[in-house]
Symmetry: C2
Subunit: 337 residues, 2 copies
């Protein structure tokens, strides 16, 4: 295994804006104030859950371009994906935009994959601006991956709640306060977890693998970061990640946080926390950049975590492989710690 | 719409080898002699069609590395995808390799998407070697997108036959006879086709859009190429593509060919021809580079074509958006025409 899967962006790449759209339950959580738009129902004016999820991506992209004062013609590339079969949601958001499109799928690590690829293409000088989008929706995901939601099936205490949200971020070569420094592509890791409700356990080893590889490539330790923010490990997955890392690293402490834990309040009945491609996408496009710009975090490692399961593979008795991609951000104009 | 979606690879990128694995019907077609391995059944020793498709990707990757005398540790990145929900097939091929992985989905344009992204990352100096893989399987696709194959459902004359094949290509910065010059990212185009059997009609407008944009960016005309090879338009889609292009271009003639037309003999009962992500992947990794190396074609434009449908979108009455990505190849050591 060589170390070339960590990319450093030579031409500086900046965060040029973000927009996040969420469902009603997410709107009532701690991230609520940082969403640009909160839907008041899982099914908006659209006539299906999938079309509602497409509408969330459409609204996030429209808000993003509006806030950045850009038109389709000034964005070089759209990268993105979702959890629904064949990226149904993203395809129908992309068809409405006159922007060349690359469809990505690494489950809930898709936003991180998009940020990493967009940064690479900007950092290499191929393009100047790219929009990255990802989403998930509780009802579209649950019926596809587990049970029809109408069944009211009982869920185990270690299950997570698929987040209803879309996040869109603009990356650009035009200087701004938050810079994307580097990224590490993840390997597919499989510890043999077969329970489709136990996503945190399936994903924690992939997150540990990528974090260790990224730190090694950057010659850094956790103490060098203000925040190491995983996508959707949830409470159980985060605990497993810390247990895996404690064997290898010092400073495995509260600087490790997780968007799935941040998404809901303790009393919102989501058991182990939030999950879904829209979980990290909406936090990274909404709360996080605002917190970095106001100086709360200066050096941040984002770690998108994806469980590579399908109804087919679970039904055929296969285990759940997982992957994680990392992207490192810093605020400009201040010395890196 | 700006022109920045055409990337030119400054650091030269070369084709470093290819491997193709196919099913029995494909093995009997014109491409048969160029496959590295031909399965004698749609279901090999594996206990499901999906696992058989994974085995085809696994075999293609193993052959590729064997022929190139490389180990996992000397390949920086694996990029790829397939048509099955959540990339089930590719995820389980990727977990067996110790190579960082990026999952892609643009339907049957996925191989082209992978070649374009891998070339960009090599051409920018981020990595030295990348493997790109894509596949499809008649039985896994037909039951997922249309009808259970056991039904023996009657198919219309304009339908295509999903190809059972996997193709894997190695791209590298080490000089070789075939060089990847540039690529154009496609836009999502929707002409309102709603018939899931009429993929050629859904995809032809996307192919025309990308070909016109690529030619404009390269200041080239069709006569500058020895071959413009689309992925899986089939006979009907190819005819529609030529009709669309004739309004805009001269030299719209036999230099426009299609892997779906090439894949089967007239008497193989596939109606409009082959389709599927494995169609272009196996031709571009098997026959094509051999033909270029022996001098049959010197300047070639590959155009991957993808129909962005799902059982969900078709079931909900939606039309079929499509996309096409282009990659330009030339043989080295001879003057480009």
């Amino acid at each position: 295994m060589n170390g070339r899967a960590t990319f450093h962006f030579q031409i500086p790449v900046y965060f040029g804006g973000g927009a996040a759209v969420a469902g009603p339950k997410e709107g009532q959580g701690p991230m609520g104030p940082f969403f640009d738009l909160i839907y008041d129902s899982l099914q908006s004016a659209e006539d299906s859950w999938e079309k509602t999820e497409t509408a969330m991506q459409r609204d996030a992209l429209a808000k993003l371009l509006e806030k950045a004062a850009l038109t389709d013609g000034s964005v070089d590339l759209l990268l993105g994906g979702d959890l629904i079969n064949q990226l149904t949601v993203t395809n129908f958001a992309a068809v409405e935009r006159d922007i060349p499109f690359l469809g990505l799928y690494n489950a809930c690590a898709t936003m991180a994959e998009g940020l990493l690829l967009a940064s690479s293409l900007i950092g290499a000088g191929f393009i100047a601006d790219a929009a990255v989008v990802a989403s998930s929706h509780n009802a579209t995901s649950e019926r596809q991956f587990r049970f029809p939601t109408e069944l009211g099936n009982q869920r185990p205490s270690w299950s997570q709640w698929t987040v209803t949200a879309a996040g869109a971020a603009l990356l650009t070569n035009r200087p701004g306060p938050v810079r994307l420094i580097s990224g590490t592509v993840g390997r597919v890791v499989d510890y043999g977890v077969k329970d489709a409700n136990d996503m945190g356990a399936a994903m924690a080893p992939a997150a540990a693998d990528t974090i260790l590889r990224h730190l090694r490539a950057e010659k850094a330790s956790p103490a060098d970061y203000d925040l190491i923010l995983t996508g959707d490990l949830g409470r159980r997955g985060r605990r497993l990640l810390l247990a895996l890392l404690e064997k290898e690293l010092a400073d495995v402490d509260e600087r490790f946080q997780d968007c799935g834990v941040w998404m809901f309040k303790e009393n919102q009945d989501v058991y182990a926390g939030g999950s879904g491609a829209g979980c990290s996408a909406s936090v990274w496009s909404g709360y996080l950049p605002r917190a970095m710009i106001r100086g709360q975090y200066r050096r941040v490692l984002l770690v998108g975590t994806g469980a590579l399961l399908s109804a087919v593979s679970v039904g055929q008795g296969a285990s759940i492989p997982a992957i994680a991609h990392a992207v490192e951000l810093r605020t400009e104009g201040k010395e890196a710690r």
